[in-house]
Symmetry: C2
Subunit: 334 residues, 2 copies
Amino acid sequence: MTVTIYDVAREAGVSMATVSRVVNNNPNVKPQTRKKVFEAIERLGYRPNAVARGLASKKTTTVGVVIPDISNAIFAEVARGIEDIANMYHYNIILCNADKKKDKEIRVINTLLEKQVDGLLFMGGAVTDEHLQAFKTANVPIVLCATTDEQGLIPSVDIDHEAAAYDAVQALLKQGHTRIAMISGTLQDPSIGFARFQGYKRALESAGITYDENLVRIGNYRYESGSEAMKYFLDLSDRPSAVFSATDEMAIGAIHQIQDSGLKVPQDVSIISVDNSRMASMVRPQLTAVAQPMYDIGAVSMRLLTKLMKKETVDHAKVVLPHEIVTRQSVSAI
Amino acid sequence: MTVTIYDVAREAGVSMATVSRVVNNNPNVKPQTRKKVFEAIERLGYRPNAVARGLASKKTTTVGVVIPDISNAIFAEVARGIEDIANMYHYNIILCNADKKKDKEIRVINTLLEKQVDGLLFMGGAVTDEHLQAFKTANVPIVLCATTDEQGLIPSVDIDHEAAAYDAVQALLKQGHTRIAMISGTLQDPSIGFARFQGYKRALESAGITYDENLVRIGNYRYESGSEAMKYFLDLSDRPSAVFSATDEMAIGAIHQIQDSGLKVPQDVSIISVDNSRMASMVRPQLTAVAQPMYDIGAVSMRLLTKLMKKETVDHAKVVLPHEIVTRQSVSAI
DNA sequence: CTGTTAGCGCTTTCAT
DNA sequence: ATGAAAGCGCTAACAG
């Protein structure tokens, strides 16, 4: 039924070892024998069984990727970066959505490890002690992707979310804004939520502006929640002249809310966000945003993982990719 | 170093078979023995090796997914549908981007098959004879996802792209438009490109309108190409009063092009598209579009694949999911 | 309900 | 340059 390496060996009149060598491109094979083997492979339609190979060699050339949600544009972009580099190094990826839920994350990490992945890329919510525990039992390298652990024990690649937020708010400050609101993500989320909120507060502080909790609303990263938050701000007696949104999508919701209430962006309210997804240039006015290099985060973390898997020594196990502000039309001077 | 089923057996004072039984939830184990085994597993920190299991049982509980581009929102949505259902049936997915390139598609199909996936979900460009050939050598079920083969030999789940386009254009016709342009995808793409173009032509025909090739531009599905196509139409001496776009993203590019030239949507030009991605409600005016149920296409195709993998008999191996037009604000009467 | 025993298809020493 | 043979860790009859 299925043709095995043994069948090929017999057909070619050589040993299994020799077939294995030609299949694996081992140079120690006489060209003539190699040819014979290839012909036998062709004739029989032989297809190597990667599972058997994995068992024998203890390598599967597949890596596990745990991701919050592949249907989120930001993460999908990271995933593409990961897969491109994985492909380049002949790895395949097993993709698991875990929705930033701790239990689900732990569960998929374990099944990935059971599947004997050669390495693991983890993109999730907070990295808790339980995560650390699970990582410890893995005897394969792990890199955190678009996240970091508090203690900085695990290799990771990410941007500095706090600084990104800080820079975004600075851009608003520089235009003379002083009443600056924030549409935040949940503070439970360490990077996108908490870190960006911290950056916002630090920027305000640096300008001597006292923090006003009425100017902060927590959204769920979605368009609608951006709209709702903005509605709240607009109804304030003393409404903000500028808004910092933790994500593009909420920013766009805010923009439309402003426009729908007859006001103008940026003339009446300026808006800036962090992300710079493709959508940022697909709104009017186009959105000014701090760019997170998502594709690169994916690509670099996969590259780092390949090095770790090859046991190469790496100098920077914690890489922080630069962010930059891309100025479009949603911010103006007050 | 690594603890195996044999170690657990010794530790628990039972045979490997018994350990295997408790790990696999085989009911034929005395509760007491089961308990002993679980304790040994716990004590040793045993983690079953899925690769070894795969070799022995000839099942990997993983399915291969070839997708054009995971960073494309439409496909990412399908992928999420696939993964959710896969997860529900305890399958994992190996994800491969193939960019609708035939060579790449054939290559990943083969590596997926080498990895002994239990089934394959194929999302790609045209299904050529070479594809059919590759599918034939697979001895696992395959389902086409958001595509179909001409001959209808392979199980598939998709919408009727031709009818979707037809319906979209009908909606324009119903509003009295007669000069209707189309922003198409490449005609090489059977479903999104060619089929939608055919639907456009058929709708025109049904209304007795002669086809004018000046009213069709080929885009690349991206925002910018929608803008460019629209610019071309706007420069026509006798510009169209309505535009049908093959995708949301190009439609949004067109909307902005119209607005940037001082005209209004839908007052001056109506626009309709096929997709109904989340972006459709994130533009102003909100985009009227024929909804493709992408998540469902993914979910249903994965569900179908599970049935095929379990060798259940399926009555409809070719499922065509319904599409519906969701009316928003981008279309008005002429 | 439990144990014995062959493999699953391949890689990898170790010889030759 | 090539072959022989011993596993890799597990499942699946089969026997009892």
